[in-house]
């Protein structure tokens, strides 16, 4: 049985094609200016990657902040549901799922079936989301991909006072003018966002295993800062940005098994 999960994120659209619990194909497309075109592109690419056609898909479940937008989906589930479901698929002992996307951050407590027990969300403030690191990379005139690895080369702790991404941008510019090494600034940036995420997730509590997912989990600087801040081990799946789409595809498979279309 083949199902699809589509995660309509603020920045990227992620699609997973799942056959009997195994990922057959996947695709990621920036949501860009025309979300409809991007959605078609992403879905088409994932089908092609899985070497299947639209007719082969038994059920499509959408998730993500733009999930209502996926008009050809059979149903949709919340970001929290799909994130927990996907994380537990990779790590059956997952109790705390931290999901950091471009414009949102989430902390989720779940049981062994991936059922959500409690959660906390920040969708109001860029300081606890990927948008923060993007803004800081711009202020440092670095590519986003360079920011994380550079932070690992830091030798000196520099304080960041600003929480707000807009104020932090000015602070970063002043630090650059004061000839502070970019590696040290970069480390301070990652510590700042990790602090914000950790204080949010503390509302639901941290319990092992802790699984980090979402696009920002690919940033090694952020992962290092999270480990520093928590002083605990953190598990990260291979493609952390696809975990929610996978969770949605798993939910879709459940629907088919339960007899729904």
């Amino acid at each position: 049985m083949i199902t699809a999960g589509i995660d309509m994120g603020a920045k990227n659209i992620k699609v997973i094609i799942l056959e009997d619990g195994t990922v057959k194909g996947k695709a990621l497309t920036p949501a860009g200016l025309d979300a409809k075109v991007a959605l078609e592109t992403a879905y088409g690419a994932a089908l092609k990657d899985a070497k299947v056609t639209k007719a082969d898909i038994k059920h499509i479940t959408a998730t993500g902040s733009g999930r209502e937008f996926v008009d050809f989906a059979n149903d949709n589930v919340s970001d929290v549901t799909s994130a927990a479901r996907g994380a537990v698929h990779f790590y059956p002992n997952a109790k705390t799922v931290v999901d950091v996307g471009a414009e949102e951050g989430r902390g989720i407590r779940c049981d062994k079936n991936g059922k959500v027990m409690d959660f906390a969300v920040n969708e109001k403030c860029a300081a606890g989301a990927g948008a923060f690191t993007e803004a800081m990379a711009r202020a440092l005139e670095l590519k986003l991909e360079e920011l994380g690895p550079l932070s690992l080369k830091s030798t000196k702790a520099v304080p960041m006072n600003a929480q707000c991404a807009v104020f932090a941008e000015s602070e970063v510019v002043s630090l650059v003018h004061a000839k502070t090494p970019k590696a040290d600034i970069s480390k301070a940036i990652h510590d700042a966002i990790a602090d914000r995420i950790i204080s949010m997730v503390r509302k639901v509590g941290f319990e092992d295993d802790i699984v980090l997912i979402g696009g920002v989990a690919k940033n090694v600087g952020f992962v290092a800062a999270m480990k520093r801040g928590l002083n605990k081990d953190i598990k990260i799946p291979t493609d952390p940005e696809f975990v929610s789409a996978l969770g949605a595809a798993l939910e879709a498979a459940d629907k088919v098994k339960a007899g729904g279309k």
Partner: protein, 292 residues
Amino acid sequence: MAEEKKAEYWRWTEARWTNPDIKWQDGKILTAGVDVGSVSTQIVVMVDGKLYCYSNMRTGSSSPDSAKNGMNWALEGTGLTVDKINYIIGTGYGRVNVPFAHRAITEIACHARGANFMYGPTIRTVLDMGGQDCKAIKCDEKGKVVSFLMNDKCAAGTGRGMEVFADLLQIPITDVGAMSLDVPEEPPPVSSTCVVFAKSEASSLLRKGWPKNKVLAAYCSAMAHRIVTLLERVGVEKDFAITGGIAKNIGVVERLKKELKIDIAKTQLDPQIAGAIGAALFGKTLIEKGKT
């Protein structure tokens, strides 16, 4: 690749002024207030408690230099020199870094005192909308602070947020307010609180074909609403005055007035110099009480 010349839409107009009716040589007590904010710096010189001259300019990368440059500009053409000023008080974000100041006083106290001078002793609530923070201050008839609340953590509801929008829409910041009022009907406010997200929201509104003035109206109204929530926590009592740079943005001020259903006190003076005026007045009081 050709470098595109980037206009700086956020830049506001710097100014200086001398009171033609006062001769500083005739004064007994000369005091100065130096308000080094995160975005702007104001210097006010008072002669026997009367406004003599001021300058209002952008803060540079160093607070001491900004204070020095501001003072030089304020005194330009007056013949007055710093050493002849009896007492100088620093205030604002960079108040401890004013090289020639005799003392530092918080900007909360100074804004309340300054508003009392500028708008009169009936002022009970002062809203100071600065470059990187926003304060709601309640004060008594002497301009003494009774209570206050501030937001200095988040750019939403501060001048910095407005600068970001001026840049995004490529509208000179001094035109933003008037343009935002030039709409046939009031659009719904921008829904994102965070300036970073509001920026993306505004971009998508522009792509949908909204004209710039409609987007500005939506942002000014969101900002007014954000500030109202801060004001309501401290409680708004008549008379009500606004100080700081955003007091010059008629788009925000008019919407605040509408939402609060309260009149806003008027002044002939530059609302950005309230803090520096308050500081200079504190200087005079300290001299009179012999507490220097």
